[in-house]
Subunit: 370 residues, 2 copies
Amino acid sequence: MVDTLLIPGPIVLSANVQKALGTPSLAHTSPEFLTVFSRVLQNTRKVFRADPKKGQPYVLPGSGTLGWDIAASNLICPNEKALVLSTGFFSDSFAECLKLYGADVDKLDAPIGGIVDPSEVESHLQKNKYRLITITHVDTSTAVLTDVKKITEIVHRVSPETFIIVDGVCSIGCEEFEFEKWGIDFALTASQKALGAPPGLSVSMISQRALDFAQHPETPTRSFFGSLKRWSPVMQNNESGKAAYFATPAVQLVNSLDVSLDEILQDTLEKRWEQHKKTSDWFKGKLTNELNLKLVSEPQASASGLTAVYVNEPPKVVSYLKQNGVVIAGGIHSEIGGKYIRVGHMGVSVVDPKLDHIPRAYELIKEAMH
Amino acid sequence: MVDTLLIPGPIVLSANVQKALGTPSLAHTSPEFLTVFSRVLQNTRKVFRADPKKGQPYVLPGSGTLGWDIAASNLICPNEKALVLSTGFFSDSFAECLKLYGADVDKLDAPIGGIVDPSEVESHLQKNKYRLITITHVDTSTAVLTDVKKITEIVHRVSPETFIIVDGVCSIGCEEFEFEKWGIDFALTASQKALGAPPGLSVSMISQRALDFAQHPETPTRSFFGSLKRWSPVMQNNESGKAAYFATPAVQLVNSLDVSLDEILQDTLEKRWEQHKKTSDWFKGKLTNELNLKLVSEPQASASGLTAVYVNEPPKVVSYLKQNGVVIAGGIHSEIGGKYIRVGHMGVSVVDPKLDHIPRAYELIKEAMH
């Protein structure tokens, strides 16, 4: 009996995504694989709600972390200023990554469970010239959801030249997200979150103006493996079905992502976002109203793809669910890490209610409380 | 009918390696996965012939290219000197990577198909103080095999403080390779070559002295995703079965590598190396003696895991084999790229002669000649 994986990524794979992993070896330069890869890149644009022609998607062997590297080493020069909105562990790590590549980082810390005050963002943008701003759409450590649209409106009004970078890990595929409409410059996620594929791929999208900046000869490239000067022509070729090489793609993972993106696009994204919100609202409602538990994230700033909730003795709750075949996660936060649990609700666990994953998790948490 | 993949990586997977890919999602922090990951790291030491306790293996989501990044951004400081022995496209790319991270690179170019003169290596090491030397054991672009042991002897004698870095892509798992005995400081490969797993993993090993250098507070870290300061404690924990996080591991690929490493270690490595050499000798002998073709690599410096051979109209040969269900590769070399073909013979295609992969490839090349 296989455990049901309800951590905030990797998530349970659909049967067809699982099956696609088992594809026999294909040459990464074969026409068969190029057809798949080209479709994956085009569908990445669709899931990000990006322009079908402008900018460029990237699907690279790596992880969500690699997306930070790409932004920090290609979209800002050393000593230029970056504004980081922090809503938890992952936002803080993005700031560390920016500093490593030489950025001068101002970090605005939200109160635990809350968001950064938009007026503070506005005043910082007025006082300083920022090359980029980073927004963690959902911080997987706290389940805090930031209103990306609202922040982008402030940036476009006050500092339109600032690149808007969104960490969309745990959001893209399950939260409302509009790359083109909201005027985002770079958004990144990982395959194993709401995209519903296995871990091992960094998936990202860049705007045309940010791409022009990254490819400009005067922009210093500070990472080799994450170099957009090297990857961009390769991805452009791959997207148009032509072989091009910088590093070998993870063929089987790309095959698997192809199936998961196709499943996501079978219906409208709006419906998918709504399904995640509804499941999340139901789950959070039961935990707070019936079990009198307190969420880590404030109600008006809570993610649809995961729940972080305070419980007494988190290890006992995690362990009780594990004994009953359901795997959830503990907290990760420097101050409150040991006080809460995290439950992921993304992908098939949400869109296929017959699986009964989330109601079952609720029942087990309820039992564990007694 | 699935094509037989005989490019120099990705290679054909064994049935059990293929099957391991299909594992349902596991939490990357679960005891089940940590057991697998710990074994993979320990077995990586064995396949590299490294010390079971000292130094540290790394299995990261990425590719062979990421291994260059790790060496270039952790094992040499900006403006320090690096000596690169180049036997083709991949050695040259490693040099580019080193330059990007600020190394002062001296590159010794071998004649096409040949190796770098050892006396030239010796005189360079005498004249300059090099932080590191890079040796591409097998350059996948030319099938040239460098005598790593001989070069390490020179380095240990003339400049023992110089780190010895070996690009073991297309060698580790099929060529004689002794990390500990030969006194290597960092060796890197990728999952999809002679390790017989799917693409998507960077697999590498560091010596204790190079690890101490990389982790020293005064050594500047210049890559975030490739930072050994960040990865080393994570891998140390994972190897001893403890959860630790920097970026999410590619769970399914690691499961698959676990099976392939186990298959490799079922018999002695010496036998495996011998099998590859024997198959390679047979194949190269048939091509040169019976078809009168000329190898790209000189006979005394030829890889066991692939063959690069000049043919008339390479695209026609590649295409004829493809029509008959066998996929081989064209040349990649700035000067002679359009004049030869490359055939990989690694892993199950070699150790399972019942598959008849290599004799079949030979017969098809023979037919294509007529």
